[in-house]
Amino acid sequence: MVRKMRGVVMVGLLSAMLATSAWSATVTFKDPVGDDKGPGNYTYPTDAVYTPGSFDITQFDVTAKGSNVNFAVSVNSKLEDPWGMGVGFAVQMIFIFIDTDNKPGSGHTEGLPGLNIQFDPANAWDKVVILSPQKQARVLSEAKIKAPDLLKDILVPNRTTGSGKTIEGTVKLADLGGGDPAQWSYQVIMQSNEGFPAKTDLLTRKVNEYEGQHRYGGGNDADCDPHVMDLLAGKGEGKPEEVQLQYEMLKYECDATGGSVKRATLIMVHK
């Protein structure tokens, strides 16, 4: 009896150790440097605060720590805070779309307002985490107005911070629906923190045909073009061929009046 008890305890301890080590694992994706051009020709706004590389994703890490999941996105430029946001960065805004069940057709295929993207039905997303220098309440307040149908699947960390070249935030695993983050599929969208967004945009910055002081350029003046500067592609290994894969993914077509003929359709990356 005692031996059985010891055995049970040992198995239990071993299981707990394995589970703990799985929960503390970090999943890392890399992205090529210099592909912060959206579908291939996007340009930065002209104001000096948008330093070169500040919208160029280089790495994305997901770390499960106990009941929390930490998301960290690194860019190719030192983070600065010219607008006094108080959290170590200011110009970036990141959307992390997550397919937690990897079931084709399960989840949402539309992007969030202002991104002008959609997801392939086989890569529908279940949750999205927004890393923004704006206060959590403001982001959720905007989401409540502009994306009420998706609100329950929009998560904003209590605190998002930037240091060095990395922006990160933590959310509860339970809020993500539980499960193993290492098994999920992801798509990371790099956008910009727009404190004065258009009425239909979720704090995102527009892409116009020509760049402006606070507008990206290289796209279309209407909303048929994807408002995405960088994202993950291929297997998320940072290989040069992933640049073209990104450009292909973000291809779009507009009609003469700025209406969408073909919207950029995204797929996820996973390990």
Binding site: V33, T43, A48, D56, N68, K78, A137, I145, R159, F196
Partner: protein
């Protein structure tokens, strides 16, 4: 009524737009911003914490901003802004109703009030407008004509002014690109602002054609390398008074000419290190022949440079440990007329704290004892502008003449974030008698004349006739998020500043007991009589918490201690005399600040509140030879050389201030 009339006018304009044009559209939006001030100074000179003779800590007021933007065609875009400004537009004015003109026979002046006073009448003003053209030609991407905040350039050369004045500067901006957008260029012509764009705070009698031209080229041949060249030419002209022949037009003559160029490079050879270098050179010529030193620019011709080198090591042996190093030198006579006056921070160092930004502790016509929150932002000009700011904003300070090194290590382990700073400052403005053997030289502006005086030394006074100063700054910031409830955000800080200034260190400038070449006091007999020594400490601790999903609250406490030796009693010159103004400040200064902040968001409405209680004391410390005397009212103290009496007793300060605001964007 006036806002309603404006809206009606706008709707008429909408109606006149071409119907059926695919690209024709007009967006009408704006902001309603309401501010509530409260405080124990009970000042009602204006709805802003700091504005010379126009500040206050009482009352409520509303700003209405109307933004028009739209497109006329695929190639033509426009925007405009109408807004009333906080000033004395108190709710208690009843919309600026009533009032009139009052004539004072004794002084012969006329004062206006209510509807007849532009500060009180709540009028909506045209703030700015622009038209942007994107013609689709290969050789040009866009042309923007009209208002611009000029943030496309470099704050050392052409930069922003006050945020509220972001549309005040107008000009022409042409932008283009080449080499598949790896090369970009900007060319600008900016109309020089007549209110401050030249010596003596003016561009002279003739201003309408005065201008600054700017050019910038950015080249990004590959992701790791970015190169920038920038040049600026300002030209302030006046009518040639000697030209009395009006048959062939009127000749002009130059009042001020300023040429500034800059070269910048940023290189990232590997993902763990970034290198950047910036060099600027100015060539300033003035023919303004000012007799006043109350001026935001030099009264002499000058050529000088500024440079800085930045090394960012993003990973030192282990993840989450990084270090940034900045080495810099801003020339004493570096002058760019259009350099950023605020809304920029050109150096990595924290510099001084805004809490001691008041030029005197009790100047009721300015920010007051509490100063500004947070640290100062450095700008490469002494045409610094902190007017029309509130206490919850950052103070700008000049870094003209600063040179040194700043090291900022950062480390993060789990939820704990640490950031340190060490800065060593020397000054290109360390000299004797302005290096001109003339301590009374008028070449250098004085402004408040308190360079290196008091605790902060004046935010826009870089020049003192005698200076031999060094400054060291050490800071440790920390933040820790406790995973409890919605997360408790703990934060804290410790800061130390050590500053020494020997000021006069040549015996020829000492008094001989009969006369003094410089200081008005014949008591100034020893080189040590004017030495300045500051030991400054600051600590902060606080916590923030998401109280509900819409409401965030934060509380913090700050402690300040400054032990200041600012010369002996023999050193203190008369207030307003020459280069110095201000009260006696040697002694121990202690300040305690308690602050409570809330942020609340509700479906498009944003609300903020910042309430502070600041109390402290000043204990004078008299140095040198002095005798305590009675001021005639039974108070013992010291009679300074200028006759000012400084009581030998502790001075107590207490300040309560509150700002609440609400913003709705539509």
């Amino acid at each position: 009524m006036k806002p309603i009339k404006t809206v009606v006018l706008l709707l008429l304009i909408v109606g006149l737009l071409p119907v059926g044009t695919a690209y024709a559209k007009l967006d009408l939006g704006g902001t309603i911003y309401i501010k509530w001030l409260d405080g124990n100074r009970h000042l009602q000179n204006g709805l802003q914490s700091n504005a010379e003779n126009n500040n206050g800590d009482q009352g409520q007021g509303t700003e209405l901003e109307i933004l028009l933007s739209g497109t006329v065609s695929e190639q033509v875009e426009f925007g405009a802004r109408l807004k009333n400004r906080f000033n004395r537009n108190y709710w208690s004015n009843m919309g600026g109703f009533g009032g009139g003109y009052t004539y004072d026979a004794g002084s012969g002046t006329v004062t206006s009030s209510g509807e007849y006073n532009s500060l009180e009448a709540q009028y909506v003003k045209f703030r700015g407008a622009f038209v942007k053209l994107t013609p689709g030609y290969r050789w040009i991407d866009s042309a923007t004509i009209g208002s611009n905040d000029w943030g496309q350039f470099d704050p050392y050369i052409i930069g922003k002014i006050r945020y509220i004045d972001r549309d005040n500067l107008s000009g022409l901006l042409f932008q283009g690109s080449a080499l598949n957008k790896t090369l970009k260029w900007d060319i600008a012509r900016i109309s020089l602002p007549k209110l401050w764009g030249g010596p003596g705070w003016t561009t002279g009698t003739f201003h309408a054609q005065d201008s600054a031209y700017g050019g910038q080229v950015k080249y990004n041949p590959f992701a790791a390398l970015n190169l920038t060249g920038i040049v600026e030419y300002s030209h302030d002209q006046e009518l040639d008074a000697t030209d009395d022949n009006t048959k062939n037009g009127q000749s002009m003559e130059t009042r001020v000419r300023d040429v500034v160029y800059g070269l910048k490079a940023k290189y990232s050879p590997m993902d763990w290190i970034d290198l950047s270098l910036a060099y600027y050179h100015s060539d300033y010529s003035t023919f303004a022949d000012l007799t006043t030193q109350w001026s935001p620019y030099l009264n002499k011709d000058a050529k000088d440079s500024a440079w800085k080198v930045n090394i960012d090591i993003n990973k030192i042996f282990i993840d989450n440990l990084s270090c940034a190093i900045e080495v810099f030198s801003i020339g004493a006579e570096y002058q760019s007329i259009m350099a950023a006056r605020r809304e920029a921070d050109v150096l990595m160092t924290e510099g001084h704290d805004g809490s001691w930004g008041a030029r005197m502790p009790l100047l009721n016509n300015e920010i007051g004892y509490g100063g500004w929150d947070d640290t100062a932002q450095q700008v490469a000009t002494f045409n610094v502008d902190n007017d029309f700011t509130d206490f919850d904003e950052r103070m700008a300070e000049t870094c003209i003449g600063w040179k040194g090194v700043t090291i900022v290590p950062k480390f993060q382990i789990d939820a704990l974030r640490l950031q340190g700073e060490f800065t060593y400052l020397d000054y290109n403005t360390n000299w004797q008698a302005f290096d001109e053997d003339n301590p009374n030289s008028t070449d250098y502006p004085l402004l408040e004349g308190n360079a290196g005086v008091g605790i902060n030394g004046g935010f826009r006074s870089p020049y003192a006739p005698f200076q031999d100063k060094t400054t060291m700054i050490a800071v440790l910031n920390w933040a820790y998020d406790v995973d409890l409830g919605t997360g408790i955000n703990l934060f804290g800080k410790f800061k130390w500043i050590g500053e020494e200034d020997k000021r006069v260190d040549e015996e020829q400038y000492l008094s001989d007991g009969v006369s003094t070449p410089w200081y008005p006091s014949t008591l100034f007999r020893d080189l040590g009589d004017d030495d300045r020594d500051l030991t400054y400490y600051m600590g902060r601790i606080g916590a923030g918490y998401q109280l509900t999903k819409d409401l965030y609250g934060k509380f913090y406490y700050e402690y300040y201690q400054a032990d200041l030796d600012d010369g002996t009693v023999a050193f203190t010159p008369p207030a307003g005399a020459g280069w110095w103004s201000g009260p006696y400040q040697s002694g121990d200064h202690i300040k305690n600040k308690y602050a409570l902040q809330f942020d609340y968001f509700l479906s498009g409405m944003e609300f903020g509140l910042n309430a502070q209680w600041i109390e402290g004391k000043y204990e004078p410390d008299f140095k040198g030879d002095y005798t305590l005397v009675d001021n005639g009212s039974g108070v013992m103290g010291v009679q300074l050389a200028d006759g000012t009496f400084v009581a030998d007793e502790t001075q107590d300060f207490a300040m309560y201030r509150l700002k609440a605001w609400m913003k709705v964007k539509f």
